[in-house]
Amino acid sequence: MSEGAIGLLLLVVTLAVLFSGLPIAWGLVLVAVGFLAVFGSPNALAVVPHTVMDELASFALLTIPLFILLGAAIGVSAAGRDIYASLHRLLARVPGGLVIANILACGMFAAVCGSSPATAAAIGKIGVPEMIQRGVRPALATGAICAGGTLGILIPPSITLILYGLVTETSIGRLFIAGVLPGVALVVLFSIYAWLAARRDLKARPHPVERFTLREKVEGLVRVAPFLGIIVAIGYAMYGGLATPSEVAALGAFLALILVIAIYRTWRLGDWWAIYRDTIRESTMIMVIIGAAALFSYMMSLLYVTQTAADALVSLSLNRWVLLLLINVFLLIAGCFLPPVAIILMIMPILTPVLERNGFDLIWFGVMLTINLEVGLITPPVGLNLYVLRGVAPDIPVSTVLKGSLPFVGIMLGFMVVLCFVPGFATWLPTALMGPGQ
């Protein structure tokens, strides 16, 4: 069988196995071992356990569980409630202020947490009931949280960008800074939309404006300030080259655990179990997929599938923008079914050389890819954030959540087009702070 034919067979088999509902990690191992056994040399299977363990024995990978721990500690504490309460009070007099407060709160929470569902859950469990109670349309309320939650993986720290950095061998620090401006831009665009939508609703049904004292407005933010301090310190240490991402993640997790005790008096055993239960579950899920994906990409490159697929893409010699469009459409479709972790690990080894040969900046593409995969998080059938919303607001039908998220999806797709024409949105800040190239 030629490499191309093996590649096509691999695509079909992988899709069939993944769609069976088998956990992605086990599915990747099954396909990798199966193909090595059938098409590989007789001793190709001898290195299977080694490949997995060597991949995992990496100090750089420590960033993933440690940033998850940091986010889980802050997520279980009342920090989300504080951020939310203050922003809500500050914006009480703005039309649609409540919805904007939710979007800003998601943005701020994203800055201390690297996961989208965690961001949507932390803000959504307080924000959605509050918005509904005060007369915001359910579609707008849930759509805002669904979309706001996706900022978790764009605004640093971000588990998605860490993985992208590891797979494409680009600087995680650079990727993090590259996500900042697009993240802020999306917060602003989401807020403008919420303002416009809420103004239209208010004309139909005005509701009373509440007043708060200055103390009420800022007390929550004062309590949250030390956590944001951690993030600024993380940024400084990482971009200043004082510490590696893993060291920074450990320090951040350590400080977050201390602060959660000092500020929020988190002593209950139940709270600690919740922090660690979430950390272990999510870390294990991601890391086992990483180990399995190492085996999968070993198999693909041993059977020359990676090289053949990359060469085939290059030999099409498409216009680079047509190529980019095709890649993005493909990623959008993949993102509707697979979590970002799996997509990055399986597809980036093929795409990286293709993107490089077409002169695309890998840092810029990382941001583009993240926004693209964010769309997958809020669209059916496997939108993780949709499930989170179903958890926090069980009486609102998924179709309403979807209708509410569609305008936000539109904004994200529009922003991706802008990012193509103005790549500086992503690349200017890292170059300004860390110097050109790497």
Binding site: G21, L30, P49, E247, R277, T279, R281, T284, F337
Partner: protein
């Protein structure tokens, strides 16, 4: 059968608690290393220890992850199946998961045993033995395989409570 399932569930929780302790140890050791180095000393065992501890935590966390449906999959098609076919599909997925975990357990155990016999160590200054590191994979995935056996045997009324 019920007591077997309950025992396996308890083991999963105990392993998750151990995993939590290991992750915390990694956090503390790396934090200590950064401070220690900032004082002008050099670090030699900390990074390797943190990596060992974290990888052990990942594999020890795997049974709990399996118990709570944390290993994500695309369970899209089964949503549209009639209840009986859905159940059959779930059983098939559990059996396949069991087979993959058993395969990795056997392979991992071979790797750990070989490292034990040859006395293989890492190439760092600290030179810890490699077999305990390799052994975390067969240990964690062996228990994950056991968890899938428990899922297959679990009385159906309990299965929803996960």
């Amino acid at each position: 059968m019920r007591s077997f399932v309950r025992t396996v569930d308890t083991i999963a929780i105990v392993c998750a608690v151990l995993a939590a302790a290991l992750v915390t140890a990694a956090v503390l050791v790396v934090t200590w290393m950064v401070l220690w180095r900032a004082l002008g000393n050099s670090a030699y065992w900390e990074i390797e220890f943190a990596v060992y501890a974290t990888v052990a935590a990942i594999f020890l966390g795997s049974p709990y992850c399996a118990r709570t449906n944390g290993h994500v999959g695309v369970d899209l098609l089964s949503e549209y199946l009639p209840p009986r076919a859905k159940l059959a599909m779930a059983m098939a997925v559990a059996v396949l998961s069991l087979i993959v975990c058993l395969y990795l357990t056997v392979e991992g155990a071979g790797l750990a045993l070989k490292a034990w016999h040859t006395g293989e160590t890492t190439e760092s200054l600290w030179r810890p033995a490699k077999w305990p590191f390799y052994a975390t994979m067969p240990l964690g995935l062996g228990l994950t395989a056991l968890q899938y056996v428990a899922e297959l045997l679990r009385p159906r009324a309990d299965a929803e409570g996960a």
